[in-house]
Each structure stands twice: as C-alpha cells, then as structure tokens.
C-alpha cells in the first residue's frame, strides 16, 4: 500500500476522529510559518497573532471537510492567507477612519513604543544596521500591492513551491511567475530609493 506523502496525514486523521491533542501537534508544527505569512501580509505583529488564532480555530472546525486533495499545510496556509487579506482590508478601513499621527505610539513585537524621530545624534551603530535593513525590506514589502505582496511572501520569504502557490492562489503558474517578477522589480525600486544602492 502506497503511503500518503503528506507528513501531516496521520495527525490529520486523528484530528478528524476528534483527537484535540493531535491538533496541538499540528499547531506546534505550523504556527511559525502561519504566523510569518500573516505577519508579512499584515505587517503587524499583534494582528498576525490574532489572525493565526482565528485561522487555527477555523481549520479545527473544518478539518473533517479536509479531503487531502492538496497538502494539509497548503490548506492551512490558504486559510491564514485569506484571513490575513481580510484583516488587511479591515486595517486599511480603520486607518482611513482614524488617521495616524506621527506622535502615536507604534506597535512592535515587544508592545507599544513611542516613535523615535530623527535626530542629529551619533549615526546608528553597526549592530543595528541589520535590523534597519530588515525594517526597510519589511516596509517595502508592506508597500506592495496585495497581489504582489502575497507572491513575494509565499515564494521568497516562505519558500513555497510554484505548485503550492498556484494551489493556494488558484492561479496559473505563468501568472504567478509574472506577478513575482513584477513584485521583485517593485521591491528593487523601493529598496534602491531608500538605500541608494543595494
């Protein structure tokens, strides 16, 4: 008998029989990737955490309907991607209603912090350079259109295969590749604009 290639297959079967502990194994296995997809999509740590919770609960509710036509991880990432898109729309709507002030606190990993306005102090130490680069890349990704952002997140950040991306986005491979190229070009332009050189 041919074994199912999906590494989650057995665990999912147990979940479908009502084993909640088996579901916890799936949470442990996939939470990081789920969280990163959502974080890169929404660009907000706390929003991403909420989206991941919602995504796992939605997955648990619907796990009996999972038939295994695609991999379980693909199914799970599709849920979190869709919920992230929805959350992003809500966030944008909220931002329009409540425009941010430059003096508003900024939400970060560690909580909220007051914005640090540019000063004429000593240049940023080297140890913070990497963090700065990351913030800049993160900012550029965030500035992309949703359809470009998601292909960059899925392909370049999460390293998913074109096959998986096509399944998740329900797009042809050519479309995905084309979008990805444009997204990378936009990123290149964005990064070059802010850094001067790459």
């Amino acid at each position: 008998m041919q074994q199912n290639p999906d590494p989650d297959y057995e665990t999912v079967l147990r979940c479908q029989k009502g084993d909640v502990d088996a579901f916890e194994q799936l949470v442990i296995r996939h939470q990081k990737k789920m969280f990163n997809i959502s974080y890169r999509m929404t660009g907000d740590f706390n929003e991403a955490a909420e989206v991941v919770q919602d995504a796992f609960v939605a997955a648990y509710k619907n796990i009996k309907g999972f038939r295994g036509s695609a991999g379980f991880s693909t199914w799970l990432y599709t849920i979190v991607l869709n919920l992230s898109r929805n959350r992003l729309k809500q966030m944008k709507a909220r931002a329009v209603k409540e425009p941010l002030s430059l003096d508003d606190p900024v939400r970060t990993h560690e909580g909220e912090m007051k914005p640090d306005h540019p000063s004429n102090d000593v240049p940023v130490p080297d140890r913070l350079e990497r963090h700065e680069v990351e913030q800049r890349v993160h900012g550029c990704i965030k500035s992309l259109d949703d359809e470009f952002r998601e292909v960059v997140v899925l392909r370049d950040i999460q390293g998913l295969s074109y096959r998986e991306i096509c399944d998740m986005l329900r797009l042809a491979e050519g479309t995905v590749k084309s979008r990805l190229h444009r997204a990378r070009e936009s990123l290149r332009v964005c990064l070059k604009k802010h850094r001067g050189e790459l």
């Binding site: 909640v20 916890e24 890169r40 991941v52 919770q53 609960v57 070009e185 290149r188």
Partner: protein
C-alpha cells in the same frame, strides 16, 4: 530581443526556470549589456534581502491561546452533539416505555369497557325471524306461584279472587322474578332487536301470561279483555275454550285482574278472539302469527275501571 524583454526574464533566469535556448539568449545579452547585467545584480540582491528576512518568532502564548480556543470549540461541538444525540440514549428507552405503558393502559381500559360497548351493538344485529320454526325461543317459566301451587287458596272461581292488598306483594315479587328470568333468558338465548322485543312483550303479559318452553312446538300470544265485571268471566272463558277444543292450563286472580293461560289450536285463535269480544273490548298485545299446532295464549281480564296501560 531587447533589454526590456531580457529584464522580464531575469527572475526566471535567477531561478533557473528558463528553457536552455532562452537561458542561452539571456546569457549572451548579459555579456554584451552592462545595464541589464546591473539589473540582474540588483534583482539578485533584492531576492537575497527578502529571503534573508529573519523569520519572526510567534509569541510564546500563541499555542496556548490557540489550543484554549480549540478546546473550547471542541467542548461546544460536543455540547451540540450531546444536545442532538445524547438525549436519544435516554429518550428512546423512555419513549418506548411510555408508549408501552399507554398501550397497556388502553388495552385494560378497553377490556373493562368492552361488555358495555358490546351490549348496545347487539341491537344492530338483524332481528331473528320468530316465525321460523328453527329459531324458536326458549323461555323459562317464571317462578310465579300458581293456584295449584298454593293449596291454601280457595280452589273455586269465586274463592280464587284474592284481595288486592295480599295480591300486590305477590305480583311484585313475581314480576321481579319474571324480569330477572326474562333478562337472563333474553340475554343468553336471543340476540338483537328480536330479543329486546320479546322481553318487552313478556313484561306486558306478566304475571300470568308466559311462553312456556317445551319439546313441542308451542308459541304464545297475549290478549287483554276489558270487562265491566269479572264475576262470570271465569266461567265464560272456560266454556269458550272448551268449545274451541282447548283447555285452561293455568288461571289466577290478582285484585281486579284475572289471568289465564290457555292451550289452543292456533287455527282457533281467531274464534277465541271473537268469543272474547262478546265479554268486552279485546286488545291483542302480541303481534305474533302462528303457522299451526297448539299454542299457549295468555288472557288477561281487566276491569274497565282499573284498565292500566
């Protein structure tokens, strides 16, 4: 292929997704075009920066929060499942038990009420044709004390007259006895409207006129004669019956009433009726007809003043 076309393919070139021919074309162009070479370098760095983004660590409480919500959802689902299905485990036996209890109660109630239900339905049964010889009714003689059974009474016609005061209780007792006997007989041996009718008729003849059960073919009819005076009626009736070839089986007196049971050929009934008309007004209380042979006829003689109906 110009620079724009080449730059479109740079992403696929980096990811080695191009066909060998396309790849060769791009490589050839890149060697000659520094602008496209720089674009390739920028793209490689961009991808490297993106891929180099450090994966964010989810908050440590995320798993607990997720599982808390999942367990809550699981218990809620169980609750729904229990609401839908668990009661069945309890309810099905309860419902079966309740149904059985109701069925048993209904059965016993029906059993108890059954005789009451059956009795009125017997009226619906088609009446028995009394004229048919096979369907003859058998009637037990009521334990009515006859004149012969009471030797203390005066045997003579005049002495047979019993005063109303002493006769009344006897009449009542006899009537009761007849009623009881009749009811038993009718309920057991007749059915439907015929039985019901016979019972009614017998009551009208009591106490002296009774149908007698016997081996021979005997049927009964009743005649009531309303006379002004009962003094000579006794002798007149004896005489008439004798002339018609019959005989008096029984005679008794109760107050102003006289009761005779006469055995007579059914062919002579008309003549008997005509003869009795000479004594007074005759009323035929039985509508029975007779096909032939001896019959018993009950004759009730009533004084006109005490005509009772």
């Amino acid at each position: 292929m110009d620079c724009r076309d080449i730059q479109e393919k740079l992403s696929a070139f980096i990811e080695e997704e191009l066909s060998p021919a396309e790849r060769l074309q791009v490589e050839k162009h890149l060697k000659a075009c520094s602008k496209c070479g720089l674009a390739l370098e920028d793209l490689r760095r961009t991808i490297a920066l993106t891929k180099g983004l450090e994966a964010a660590e989810p908050p440590p409480w995320l798993r607990q929060k997720v599982m808390a919500r999942v367990r809550e959802e699981a218990s809620r689902q169980k609750g729904i499942i229990r609401k839908l299905f668990f009661p069945l485990h309890i309810k099905v036996p309860l419902e079966v038990f309740a149904t059985l209890a109701i069925a048993l109660t209904a059965f016993y109630v029906f059993k108890t009420v059954e005789p009451e239900i059956k009795q009125p339905t017997s009226i619906v049964v088609p009446p028995v044709d009394i004229q048919e010889p096979e369907k003859k009714e058998e009637f037990k003689q009521a334990p009515v004390p006859t004149v012969k059974e009471r030797p203390a009474e005066a045997p003579g016609p005049a002495k047979r007259m019993i005063d109303a005061e002493s006769a009344a209780p006897i009449d009542e007792k006899a009537d009761e006895a007849v009623s009881l006997n009749e009811e038993k007989t009718v309920s057991r041996e007749t059915s439907g409207a015929a039985g019901f009718r016979m019972k009614k008729e017998l009551r009208s003849f009591a106490p002296g006129v009774l149908m007698k059960a016997g081996e021979e073919e005997k049927q009964a009819m009743g005649l009531t004669v309303f006379v002004k005076d009962t003094l000579n009626v006794n002798e007149e009736i004896e005489k008439t019956v004798k002339e018609l070839g019959g005989g008096i089986i029984r005679s008794e007196a109760a107050g102003d009433k006289l009761f005779f049971t006469v055995k007579l050929d059914s062919g002579k009934l008309k003549e008997l009726k005509e003869a009795l008309k000479l004594l007074g007004e005759v009323e035929e209380e039985s509508a029975l007809s007779f096909s032939g042979g001896d019959v018993e006829v009950g004759i009730k003689v009533v004084k006109t003043e005490v005509r009772l109906h």
